[in-house]
Amino acid sequence: MSDRRRPGGGSWPAPEGSALARLWRNRVVRSVFRVGWPRTRQDRLRAMLASLVLHLHPTRVRAHVLRPSTTLGLGLVSFYLFLVLTVSGLALMLYYVPHPDAAYRSMKDLEYAVTFGMFLRNAHRWAAHGMVAVVFLHLCRVFFTGAYKPPREFNWVVGVLLLLLTLALSFTGYLLPWDQLAFWAITVGTAIVAYFPVLGPQVRYLLLGGHEIGQAALLRFYVLHCLILPLAMACLVSLHFWRVRKDGGLGAPPGRLHRRVLAWPHLVFRELLVLLLVLVVVHACALLFDAPLEGIADATRTPNPAKAPWYFLGLQELVHYGAILGGVVVPFAIVLALLALPYLDRHPRGVGVWFAPERRLANSVFAALALAVVAVTVVGTFFRGANWAWVWPW
């Protein structure tokens, strides 16, 4: 597919109207978009190569890619949520001051003194929670469709790193409101870090910029949350997308003949539709549910129970049984197993179909582990009350 043709040609409408309108359409619009609205098959192929955003896609895709059941669009939804978080986060940064004397007041200002400030915060919070959940589901989807097998081993590793980055972003953001919820969640969370053997206490010292959660810790979490981790995320997401293309697109069962369809309009418009759905759902959640804000952080009063962010409550539940077990052994084992998985599972079959019969053992083991993660998280979230004693949520 060559793109030697100069912009312009059949796809541009014949010039008409006033001189100014012609100048606008013929010179300015063409200079920006390079090709006109694609109407012919040739232009639709060309459009995919002529634009920075669209050229991430191939010009034609296998028809099965377009079926919602193939991927459930989970990777795409994660990416859109990241975009929502970037934009809403930038807006929040205009009001947020990362200092213990001012951070909590910024939250109150967003709630009472900024038009749509609360809405902005709600959107950011629910999109963040949603992203953690969707990235986890995306991981499950890739496993159950065997999509980490050669040549996609490395992209699975990048995906695992993206999951860890998502958790790190969510965790660093959790401290920023500087309320009781934030302070004690991070107290518990960073105490878990200190259990890591050899370097645990040093990593905690580096993370907090000292021995306790104070001004230095807040500033460090802020810089990590707003700059370092999002930049790392953007780099790895780019690598992730690029490898999807280079590794041959979405996994598909070998040997079957695949009908190909044009990416424009079939893929592009479906992706736009998913974007609209994500925006509508985030909008609805932000309208319906307010992000929590408790009293200002107070190191002298521990709430009872003090809970980590919900996606770490599974860990906290395990930490309740034993700090080394929950804080070190289990998380390390899970991450190592995930990273090593594509290199250990050499079985070449069962790619591109859900729950392939050849992969019954692998799928069963993974499903059991994923359910265990969900189960301890649910227990830690809903079934634990004061003194971490068992309570019924109803």
């Binding site: 004690w184 107290t187 230095a216 521990t302 049984y321």
Partner: protein, 140 residues
């Protein structure tokens, strides 16, 4: 040639090392770790006082003063003192004896005891960088 390349690599690594070292803080703008908690007379005989802003308990027993950390060794919540029954952590249910030993997990280590001295100006000064054994008492 090799020496030149090595020099360049060493210079470049030096930059990375300096950057990495710079993020480890040397000066902490934190509350001091050695601080006065009051005069002996502020703590009635036989009392246990929670000094909330320092997160520790001051015991005044017939044999002398001692100071027990209020920070749970499990995950850093403040423990509550229950007279005669020791300490209970509200976060994950750890319980400690009156002398700081673990009665019930998940905490694995006892609540540390901090060194306390009586200064010439008659103030009790606690040093949280120095822990002491269970027999430590300060006669004041």
């Amino acid at each position: 040639m090799a020496a030149g390349t090595s020099g360049l690599v060493a210079g470049a690594l030096g930059l990375v090392g300096a950057l990495a070292r710079s993020v480890v803080p040397d000066v902490l703008y934190e509350p001091p770790r050695r601080f006065p908690v009051g005069r002996p007379a502020d703590f009635p005989p036989g009392s246990v006082t929670f000094v909330s802003e320092r997160r520790l308990f001051v015991f005044n027993t017939p044999t002398g003063f001692y100071v027990v950390s209020a920070v749970c060794t499990h995950l850093g919540c403040n423990v509550n003192h229950e007279p005669g029954r020791g300490f209970a952590c509200p976060c994950h249910g750890s319980a400690f004896e009156e002398d700081g030993r673990v009665r019930k997990g998940p905490a694995a280590w006892p609540l540390p005891r901090f060194a306390v001295v009586l200064t010439r100006r008659g103030e009790l000064v606690v040093d949280t960088r120095r822990t002491v054994g269970p027999d430590f008492r300060l006669r004041a």
